[in-house]
Symmetry: C2
Subunit: 199 residues, 2 copies
Amino acid sequence: MARKTGSHSEITGPRIRDAALRLFARHGYATVSMRQIAAEVGVQAGALYLYTADKQALLFDLMQDHMINLLAAVEALPQMPTPQARLEQFARFHIGYHLDRPDAVFIAYMELRNLSPENFATIEALRRRYEDYLQTILQDGAFALPDPKMATLALIAMLTGVTNWYREGGRLSREDVQTLYADMALRAAGVAGGAAQSG
Amino acid sequence: MARKTGSHSEITGPRIRDAALRLFARHGYATVSMRQIAAEVGVQAGALYLYTADKQALLFDLMQDHMINLLAAVEALPQMPTPQARLEQFARFHIGYHLDRPDAVFIAYMELRNLSPENFATIEALRRRYEDYLQTILQDGAFALPDPKMATLALIAMLTGVTNWYREGGRLSREDVQTLYADMALRAAGVAGGAAQSG
DNA sequence: GTCTATAGTACGATAGAC
DNA sequence: GTCTATCGTACTATAGAC
């Protein structure tokens, strides 16, 4: 800390991104200044511009990386035999993945309007691909949903909402929450028997 | 328009609030300047301070009014005979009320972190009262939910999510959306037969 | 009640020394 | 690669004329 000079390009870049992620999530992109980010990393503001073109690029890169990683993770899930198992797997995955990355998730949902139009379009396309993954599951006849597209958006909103209140070490464990939400998702989608009715 | 002087205290105040509501929702509290709000109303920036102590008070008043009106509206709903009917009524109400006030809703959910700590506590208390209204419904034995508090948060997140995608004049009517979401909420809460299975 | 003008501060981004 | 210093701009909020 407080080291004044030296070569740290492999380390400073990620640290800038980590600091920006945390600060943007906590205070909002528009509120956070480049000086704050620099102070968090322990460099001067000017040094940030060796690693990012500008503040907007910093936000965009964080969101794009998050969405690309999310997509890669969901598409790497093992194939499940039944529509019900696929939906349950998705619900558990979505909650687990989002609980692991609260800052990235928060930014991805809250800072869309601070993206430039072109950057917004790129992120929206990635998000749409993620939604399509769930929609494909829900389109299976086993669910008989009148509107799978709408159900997709409803379920994703429900599952993502867990990040608004879940706190590590609280009354419910991560597993509890995954089970309870997966059950609600299965029931909402019209499956009679959820995974575990807890009781 | 472009009138330069005169007495408009009864009219300028509400117009400032309307402009702030629209601009905050569209661009975010932190991004919008007092000059932008003033320009939208047609006065100079300094004139705003005759109607609000500062920018923070403007945001707080908008959020507080929204939450108070929302609470008054939900508490004025006619009493329904069964738990299922109460949940369906709540789901339809929540969606209808939120679709009618997209800007206020957006601000109430997105700008919480831009409130001062004291103002945040006030708004959170109001939100908690609204959640309690639904939680009371869900605590009825008819639903047999393992965790009514969590189910409350899950359902509110799902229902509120409709504001992220619904557009007037789109594929689904307001009534369609209310029906489909109410059905999903009823099923998620563990009620076998929803209001209308649409088929 | 609204205006013009401005004090005081903070910002994003860049230039040039080391 | 990081620093110091700074340019040009924008902001919130206030003071004082009308």
